[in-house]
């Protein structure tokens, strides 16, 4: 549907000051005030730098967002994707009026509601029922509106039995169920959702996602969904905006946006050329990780086999074999895999390791490379040589947003004895 524009962001930027607020910030405030009184530009605005948290900056001021422009049509489901710290949350805060942009403006048509958190304003001493009213009102609902939907909300939450018990007695699962139930029944033309909303156990998550899907597609409302979970984004949204270091780097169809996000990433590049991992015995050239060599999709799915291709030069006959250590996101070693079965040859080698389908659990993994000599000594060690993200293919369908426990998920044979 070619809808009319219901949300338009023009040149919005947001500057933050780093460090502590103290008496030095008072002098900056006075300086700013003095400039503004004389009709000059705020001197602090000029010295802001782009926000790249990994690099040490020269200025105390950073642009968390810089000159963002976009339009959203009525009925669009738009994903805002970016890495941690890219500026997604800042954009959300601006859109939901929690804080003000430093420059620029956002025009909105219709009611806008944002869910940055579930259960905002829940009071532990109040009963579930009282909290439904309170939370609903905080989110912008009228009391009559809540009353009308009360039964639906309670029913959706599945905590009917505890509805007149103070929420401090609730399990954390019950708490988020109730909170999400309120949020899910918000009626506004534009809905901004943060991904943290997908909460609770598997059964409830299905319900949440189903509800979000219904809101987005069924009711034809405009939805902005913020996430760095590509699977969820792909299943829920049609369009996407990619934000990197506070700037919009891509806007378009969701498939393209996800591809853009995955390929640009330094955190998870699936192809990497090397010129710095080398010594007298060994030169590493390239590592590629993929499901299928012809695949242009920058996604690794758990439901297909994963191939790790390593290209390197062996310079001396010292080199015995190479070993990868695989670490999970928290840095714990999971297992190691080595080329003990293959005889490496002098000169160029290209070897592939095939990991069966459904072996890796969805998540991020790190590889460290060890080159081992024929006398079983490590001649070259390169830590975290590759990082890759495995995506749950079933989750991609929107069936489930959670994660099974553990790092590996081998599919074993089961049969009756």
């Amino acid at each position: 549907m070619e809808g009319k524009v219901v949300l338009k962001a023009e040149n919005i930027s947001k500057m933050y000051r780093l460090g502590l607020v103290n008496s030095r910030s008072l002098s900056a405030d006075i300086n700013r005030w003095w400039h503004l009184v004389r009709g000059k530009e705020d001197p602090n605005l000029k010295i802001g730098e782009l926000n790249n948290r990994a690099v040490k900056g020269n200025s105390d001021y950073v642009w968390a967002l810089k000159d963002i422009n976009f339009e959203v049509n009525a009925g669009d489901t738009m994903a805002i994707i970016g890495r941690n710290g890219a500026g997604k949350s800042t954009l959300l805060k601006l859109l939901s009026r929690v804080t003000q942009p430093t420059t620029g403006s956002i025009g909105v048509k219709g009611r806008i509601a944002s869910l940055l958190e579930v259960g905002t304003g829940f009071h532990p001493e109040l009963t579930g029922r009282d909290n439904i009213y309170l939370n609903g009102a905080i989110l912008g609902m009228r009391k009559s509106e809540i009353k009308q939907k009360l039964d639906q909300i309670i029913d959706f939450s599945g905590v009917e039995r505890y509805i007149d018990t103070p929420v401090k007695r609730y399990s954390s699962g019950m708490y988020v169920r109730l909170a999400f139930a309120v949020a899910a029944h918000l009626e506004s033309e534009i809905l901004i959702i943060d991904e943290v909303l997908a909460v609770g156990d598997m059964e409830f998550q299905k319900k949440c996602l189903g509800k979000m899907d219904e809101v987005a597609k069924g009711q034809g409302r405009t939805v902005l969904f913020v996430s760095h979970n590509m699977a969820a984004v792909k299943s829920l949204c049609e369009k996407g905006i990619v934000i990197e270091n506070g700037q919009k780097v891509f806007q378009g169809a969701i498939g393209e946006a996800v591809k853009h996000y995955m390929s640009k990433g330094s955190e998870s590049a699936l192809r990497r050329q090397f010129d710095f991992v080398k010594n007298d015995h060994f030169v590493l050239n390239e590592i590629k990780i993929f499901n299928d060599p012809s695949d242009q999709e920058e996604l690794l799915l758990d439901k297909h086999k994963i191939l790790i291709e390593t290209a390197f030069d062996v310079l001396t006959s010292e080199v015995g074999h190479i070993v990868y250590h695989v670490y999970n996101e928290s840095g714990d070693p999971i297992f190691s895999m080595g080329t003990t079965d293959i005889e490496l040859q002098l000169g160029a080698n290209k070897i592939t390791c095939e990991v069966p389908a459904y072996f890796f659990q969805s998540g991020t993994y790190y590889l460290s490379l060890f080159v081992i000599s024929k006398t079983q000594k490590a001649i070259l060690i390169e830590k975290d040589v590759m990082t890759f993200l495995v995506t749950d293919g079933d989750r991609l369908m929107g069936a489930y947003m959670g994660r099974e426990p553990g790092d590996i998920r081998p599919q074993f044979n089961w049969y009756r004895a």
Binding site: L26, Q100, I106, G107, G110, I138, L139
Partner: protein
């Protein structure tokens, strides 16, 4: 240029109060007051009785310290009635002021996640306290009836009782205004928050709470009269106890003071609410 229903800009206009939006959120206001009431006495045995206990004990202590020991007069009124009236009025003003002055900091977690007119919070605080005040006022009236019927005390009620709602409103606006001004300043620099806690205590002595205005003479009197709470406390006592002084001028002064302060407060508050999350 299209017309938007809502425009989020980098500019703040101090004259844009968005009162119609506050009105749209009136249900939230009501629910917040209800929340405060319901939550304050959960898991207490005495429940709302706690509303009375504090003024009773304060009155007893004041009677002992200021009346018996310091021999301050009470305009020939029973000390219990004299102090109780002062205590409940001052309590309302001071709790409104101190809790409003924490409005931004206390609610930062909510304000950081969802938008609603921030003005709702201070108004809800003042209304919650009003509820508490009404209960204490009822208690004061019971005491008055008791004294009139069971002691030799004769009442001197005057028609000025009719002005009590006005006095209470005036007091609410004073507490709201002062609290909001302070809360606007404390989001970035916490210095004022320290001042408030003991400043309010000291201010009580600049208000005829523990002494009658008739005892104050000379230069000191003009200072005490500058305090907008003076007219309110005196007017209240004049209505119920028939002592103290009542002048329309004092009432008008208190009201204008509250009105001016409120205008400043709302303008400041509106300015700060837009970006306080960045500095709180």
């Amino acid at each position: 240029m299209k017309k938007w229903d809502l425009e989020i800009t980098s500019k703040t206009f101090w004259w844009k109060w968005n009162l119609q939006e506050v009105w749209r959120y009136r249900d939230l206001l009501l629910l917040l007051v209800m929340r405060d009431y319901k939550a304050s006495f959960r898991q207490t045995i005495l429940g709302p009785i706690w509303f009375f206990i504090q003024p009773i004990f304060t009155t007893i202590v004041y009677t002992f310290v200021f009346n018996r020991v310091a021999k301050l007069g009470t305009d020939d009124q029973p000390p219990a009635l004299f102090y109780l009236s002062g205590v409940i009025l001052w309590n309302y003003f001071s709790t409104s002021l101190t809790s409003t002055s924490n409005a931004f900091i206390q609610n930062a977690s909510i304000f950081g996640k969802v938008y609603f007119p921030r003005l709702i919070i201070p108004v809800s605080i003042v209304l919650s306290n009003l509820m508490k005040f009404s209960v204490q006022l009822a208690f004061f009236l019971c005491m008055l009836v008791y004294y009139a019927n069971f002691t030799s005390y004769t009442t001197h009620l005057s028609w000025h009782i009719a002005l009590v709602p006005l006095l209470v409103l005036n007091m609410a606006l004073l507490g709201l205004g002062a609290g909001m001004i302070i809360s606007s300043f404390t989001t970035k620099y916490r210095d004022l928050a320290y001042l408030v806690t003991f400043g309010v205590q000291l201010l009580m002595y600049a208000t005829p709470v523990v002494y009658p205005l008739s005892m104050v003479k000379g230069k000191l009197l003009s200072i005490i009269l500058l305090n907008p709470m003076t007219g309110i406390v005196e007017g209240f006592r004049y209505g119920f106890l028939g002592t103290g002084s009542f002048e329309w001028g004092m009432l008008a002064y208190s009201f204008s003071f509250a009105a001016v302060m409120l205008v400043i407060a709302i303008s400041l508050f509106n300015r700060v609410e837009k970006s306080f999350m960045d500095t709180v």
